[in-house]
Every structure is written in structure tokens, then in C-alpha cells.
Amino acid sequence: MSRAHAESQPSSSAVAVAWWRDNPLLAMGSTLGLVLLLMALGAPLLSPAPSDADTTVHLEDTLQPPSWSHPFGTDQLGRDLLTRVLYGARVSLSIAALVLTLACLVGVPLGIAAGYFGGRVDDLIMRLVDVFLAFPPLLLALALVAVLTPSIASATIALAVAWWPWYARLARGQASSVAGRQLVESCRALGLSDTRIVFRHVLPNAVTPIVVQVSLDLGGVILVSAAMSFLGLGAQDPVPEWGLMVSQGRSYFTTHWWVVTFPGAAILLAAMAFNLIGDGLREVLDPKRMAVSS
């Protein structure tokens, strides 16, 4: 059956079908991820009342159940929940992207330096990493925000501080396994400097696991940042942050289910999307698996 597809000109739908069959995890994750991305990018076009994501309140429309004019209902300040959930995708995705960019920028160079040079450099950096890893990330981030003023910016910084050690450890492992290989010796024997060896040879060999980890962590960061907002240590009203929305709606849960449910479902969707993408990518990029299939 599938051979007929393969022999004819592979149409884009056939490619999509093959993709779903070969790696359903990745396909499903990417589809969900794409939905999230469209939500974030298309928020101004898709939402019924874009200004509700901002400071507008409609005190005459509070806690309306889902209807044609408000598909997800309205919250305790009469704001359209669909609008706020869509804009929430923007907030969550940008927090996650920023946190992981910062974490990689700090963690990867440190980890690579530790793994490549070894010895005292390694000890110094990795003991520091151990100190950070001794705290659960949420706890560390909460403690940091408690010192700073609660806001999206401080939550982002705090999460980056809590997250970089993981990248340092990952990069260190990759770098030290490459540094022990002959290719580094042969690079040196050709007159390459350490900087050049690190950037041209060690780093490219460390990229794959880091990419996988980033895609897995996107979900984790979204979850933790939502948790921080839920606890009042992240985004502050009127920012349409999912965790904050859940927190605000929680007292109405028994009587007005929609206020909590839709933002909660969005968090679930986002966390699931990136976990699926991460698992799927790991499978695709696994060299052992590639060796079998090629």
C-alpha cells in the first residue's frame, strides 16, 4: 500500500502520512507546537477582543459562561478568556525561549570549558554547578524572585539561573567525551589553537543532545513559569499569563469552571507539545537508531 505512494511522485500529503507513521511522537508534538506558535503569532487576528489582554475591564460582563460571543467565557473582570489564552501563548513561549537562551549562553560555554580543559577548571566549574543543582529549580527560582521584585523579568532571570547548570553538565559530558577522542589530538597536531578546536570541533559534536534538551525543557520552563505566576511570583495582572489566570480563577472553580479550565488546558497542551517534540527528536537524532535504519 505504501509502496504505491513511494513510487509515484511523493506528494506533500504522502510525506506527511509517512512522517506520522515513522515518528508519531514528533509529528504530534510538532503539530501541537505549531498550533501554539500560531496562537502566539496570530493572537491579534484570532482573538475576539484584543484589548482584553491589556488593562481593559468590563464589569458588566463578569464571569459569563462560554457563548458565541465569548467562546471560552469571561473572567472575574469581564475579560474575554479566549483572547487572554491566545495572548498567553505569547507570554509563555517568549519566557521559555528567553530562559533557555540565557541558560544555554551561560551553561554551554562553561560546560564545554570544563569538559575540554578538565583538571582544575573542570573542578571549579562543576562544583559550582553542583551547588546550583542541589536545589530543585522551582525552589531556587522562587527564592531568587523573593529577593527581586515579582515580575515577568525577574521570573525569567530566576529561571535562567536555575536552569543553566543542567546545560553546563550536559555540555561538559559531551565536551569531555570529544576531548578524549583522537580527533582533538589530531587537530592539535595540525596546529589548531584550543579556541578553534572548541568552536569548530567540540561544539558541533555537542549540539544534538543540547537541541533535544532544549526542546524538552521548553515544556518544563512553561510549566514552572506558570507555577511561579500561580504563586504570585511571576507575571502580575493584567499580563495574560496562564498560571496567573488559573490562580485568579481558582476561587470560582466550583461555580464558574471555565475560568480555570481553559488556561489550564493551554498549559497542559504546551507542556505536552514540547515533551513530545523532545522525545521525538531524541529518537530521530539517536545515532544508534540511525545506524540501524541506514
Partner: protein
């Protein structure tokens, strides 16, 4: 520093002269070589059991022993120029261009994420060639080691061990190296491929007067290839001499021991 002319190198010029070389890790003296010369267009074998200091000596010649945390003293002269105690930047300019190294596992010596041609061309450009010239020189070097230049488009894992080792040698030649340090270059290859690599090294010696410091624990390979053989034990030189003498009529008991340790294949009559 001290550029003492070496006695005994009558007629031929020494490409590499090692004098009073001591390599230490802390208080532990791992290598102590008093005198060892490598002449132009000569293949010098360095034999000895594992841990005899053969590879460390090779690393010291490239100025890489200090990178491993060793202290190096004494003198290593490359065409009369002192290598010991030079700055890392100066040594980087020498490595590849004037001394090249070939490793035991040729496939592992290449970065798996790049095509070998990229590695070769980058190395050439690092040592000052233009983009166009690096393409030309890489292809020439491949033909010089009897390989199809098309192989430059492959990734290391798509090459056989013998091909990868040839590419490594081609790279060294493309850089204009006349001193090749080969650390067990054939140990990971099968016997026919091994013979081809040895033939290639002989050809380079004869046609381009390349000098080779050939490190191996395989006495049969050394006997086949080398002009002279030096035997090391516990970091010290036990015996140096023309291959025929050293390996067929060793003066030192240790060389005899090494020879006796070579497994020989005898087929009893009627066994098959």
C-alpha cells in the same frame, strides 16, 4: 640555545636531533633520551612495549607533551631549530606545516560531523592558502597518495581505515611536511591495507625525502619498513642501529626478549 653539531651524522643532514631529552610528570621521569637522530629521507622505527615512552616522545616532538601535563627539558632540534621551550603560538605554526602526525585510528582522527575534504581544506587555509589554492592542493595531495579526490566529499565513517589513513597522510603532505610522526599508524588496519600504507610511506621517503618517525610495537612491520630501529624500554633507549642488525642480531638482551615475544605461526606437517 645549544645548537651542538652532532657527531656521527657523516654525509647526511639530520632533520630531527634529540639531545638529553627528559620528560617528567612531577618527580617521575618517564622518558630519558640521550641521543636520537632522524636523518633526511629516513624511516626510523621506534620499538618497545606499551608504556616504554614511545608515544610520549612523539608528542614531545610535536610540542604537545606539555599539553598532557608533562615537563619537558633537554633539546629537540628540527632542522637545527630548537623546539623545546618555544611558545605555544610558535609551535602551532610548526605543527602540520613542518611536523605532521598520523594516528593509530585514522577514522577517529577526523571529526565525524564534517566531510574529510572540509577538514583538509580548512587545515590548508589555516596555514595560509587561499580558498582556491586549498581546493587544488587537496585534490593534488589525494592523487599523491593514490586516492580519488572524490573521496574528499565523504564523511569519515564512509571511508575505510586504509582510505582514512591515506587522507591523513595526504593532508600532512599537502601542508608541505617533511617530517612525519606516525604513532602506530597501521595497528588498526588489516594486513593487506597495512602493506599498502607501508608502501606509501616508502614511496614518500624515496620520492620526496620525507623523514618518518615510525612508532610501533609490531616488530615485523618495523623490520619490513624501517632504515634504522631504536628500541626503548622504561623511557630509555636500549639500542639503536640499522634494522638488519638490530632486529636480526640484537646486542641487547631486551631486544632479544622482544623478538622472542613475537608469536610465530608454525604449521605442523600433516596437520591440515
Amino acid at each position: 640555545m645549544s645548537a651542538a653539531a652532532s657527531p656521527g651524522s657523516a654525509g647526511m643532514d639530520a632533520r630531527l636531533q634529540i639531545r638529553d631529552l627528559v620528560i617528567r610528570f612531577g618527580d617521575h621521569r618517564v622518558v630519558e633520551l640521550e641521543t636520537l637522530d632522524l636523518f633526511e629521507g629516513e624511516i626510523l622505527g621506534l620499538a618497545g612495549e606499551s608504556g616504554a615512552g614511545k608515544s610520549l616522545t612523539a608528542y614531545a616532538v610535536l610540542g604537545l607533551a606539555t599539553k598532557l601535563g608533562a615537563q619537558v627539558s633537554g633539546s629537540i632540534l628540527l632542522e637545527g631549530e630548537q623546539l623545546v621551550g618555544r611558545s605555544e603560538a610558535w609551535l602551532r605554526g610548526i605543527r602540520g606545516r613542518r611536523i605532521a602526525m598520523v594516528f593509530q585510528n585514522p577514522v577517529a582522527a577526523f571529526n565525524p560531523v564534517f566531510r574529510v575534504g572540509d577538514v583538509v581544506r580548512r587545515a590548508l587555509r589555516l596555514h595560509g592558502l587561499s580558498r582556491a589554492a586549498s581546493h587544488r592542493r587537496a585534490a593534488e595531495a589525494m592523487r599523491g597518495v593514490l586516492l580519488d579526490p572524490e573521496l574528499l566529499h565523504r564523511y569519515p565513517h564512509q571511508l575505510s581505515g586504509g582510505q582514512a589513513q591515506r587522507v591523513a597522510i595526504a593532508l600532512a603532505l599537502a601542508l608541505g611536511t617533511r617530517l612525519l610522526v606516525a604513532d602506530e599508524p597501521t595497528s588498526s588496519l588489516d594486513v593487506t591495507v597495512q602493506a599498502e600504507i607501508l608502501q606509501l610511506l616508502r614511496q614518500l621517503r624515496d620520492e620526496r625525502s620525507v623523514s618518518v618517525l615510525f612508532i610501533s610495537h609490531d616488530l615485523s612491520v618495523l623490520a619490513e619498513l624501517c632504515d634504522r630501529v631504536a628500541v626503548m624500554r622504561g623511557g630509555k633507549l636500549v639500542e639503536v642501529g640499522p634494522t638488519g642488525w638490530t632486529l636480526s642480531d640484537p646486542r641487547e638482551p631486551y631486544t632479544r626478549e622482544l623478538l622472542d615475544a613475537v608469536p610465530t605461526l608454525t604449521v605442523e606437517e600433516g596437520a591440515l
